[in-house]
Subunit: 198 residues, 2 copies
């Protein structure tokens, strides 16, 4: 028995998602086929409906149901603080902490020579437009401290060197609840260098 | 920013799949929204098209595009050998080994008091009909050797005790490439008991 072309196509659709391998894709496809058909119809409808209703905010490039997005159109939020994130889902993470009341900008990608993402894949032009319009006092780089994140932070710091703005980044160190034993030497050495008074 | 009801619904659809937690579901939903809309449309279409074209074979309960399924309607396959599997995806695994040329029967579930699956969730009636029609000489239980699998094997062995049929199960032991160090005591003890001459 060979996999039917229809099923194979569905498996490949699942396989395209980040972090979903061939085996998981097969499992997900079989799950859909095994359940009542209406569940699958509802799922298919939900996909169409959601992507149909989401658009890109022309100011901050967040994916939202309105353009400008709810954050950009919120006059209570502080234009002096701009937080640069990799993508829209990071905005939700930041908002969940209820600490930040400034604006956001979605960079779209991190620099990654290995994955083929260069400077042109980052939304630099839109970022420069936003900065010259809103003139924030501080820009916080909320990017992950990976090789790609560090490269991007380095690139942006050079780019904004001449601009009259304070550039900051999220603190790096040992996560709360983290075990020293399971902390990489790199993280530990960084936490040591950045130790602070208690 | 709260998650929009549309997005929340899509996340919950993904969350419903086995092995897909809330965080992964969010990641998958965001991935769909971030890509070109036609990709998502194609995915939604593929879901509909696939579930529309799959049906249950009335003989062996395999999910297939034909009823009777390609295996049941293949006259070259041996009716004397019947392989009982948990679900259709297991049929593909068995077929991939190109060793088995008998017929299949899909049980639908394993017995699992914890998950609330009892004898009535297993397709026993259909199985008994198939057995009395085809009269296989040997029934192979290709069920996983978990607590649920063992309970199901035990139940089926009692059920078929009086029937004139040889009941077998897949061999249990240390998997090829497996490390003794990472083998559970239960598996090791079983492998010891079932040791065979080289």
């Amino acid at each position: 028995v060979n996999t039917s072309p229809l099923l194979e196509k569905l498996i490949q659709h699942f396989n395209r998602f980040p972090g979903i391998g061939r085996k998981t894709a097969q499992r997900l496809a079989w799950y859909l086929i095994s359940r009542v058909k209406t569940d699958a119809y509802d799922f298919a409808d939900s996909i169409r409906e959601t992507v149909d209703n989401f658009t890109t905010c022309q100011e901050c490039l967040i994916l939202a149901e309105q353009d400008p997005c709810p954050i950009c159109s919120d006059t209570d939020r502080d234009d002096n603080l701009l937080c640069i994130v990799e993508n829209t889902s990071d905005v939700y993470l930041m908002e969940n902490m209820h600490e930040f009341h400034g604006k956001y900008f979605v960079l779209g990608h991190l620099l990654s020579p290995l994955e083929g993402y260069g400077v042109n894949d980052l939304h630099i032009k839109e970022l420069e437009t936003l900065i010259s319009t809103k003139k924030p006092q501080e820009i916080v780089l909320a990017l992950k401290p990976s090789a790609e994140g560090e490269a991007t932070i380095h690139y942006l710091s050079e780019l904004f060197q001449k601009k009259d703005v304070i550039l900051t980044r999220l603190s790096t160190g040992i996560p709360f609840g983290g075990d020293l034993e399971y902390t990489s030497t790199l993280t530990l050495a960084n936490a040591w260098k950045r130790r602070y008074r208690v």
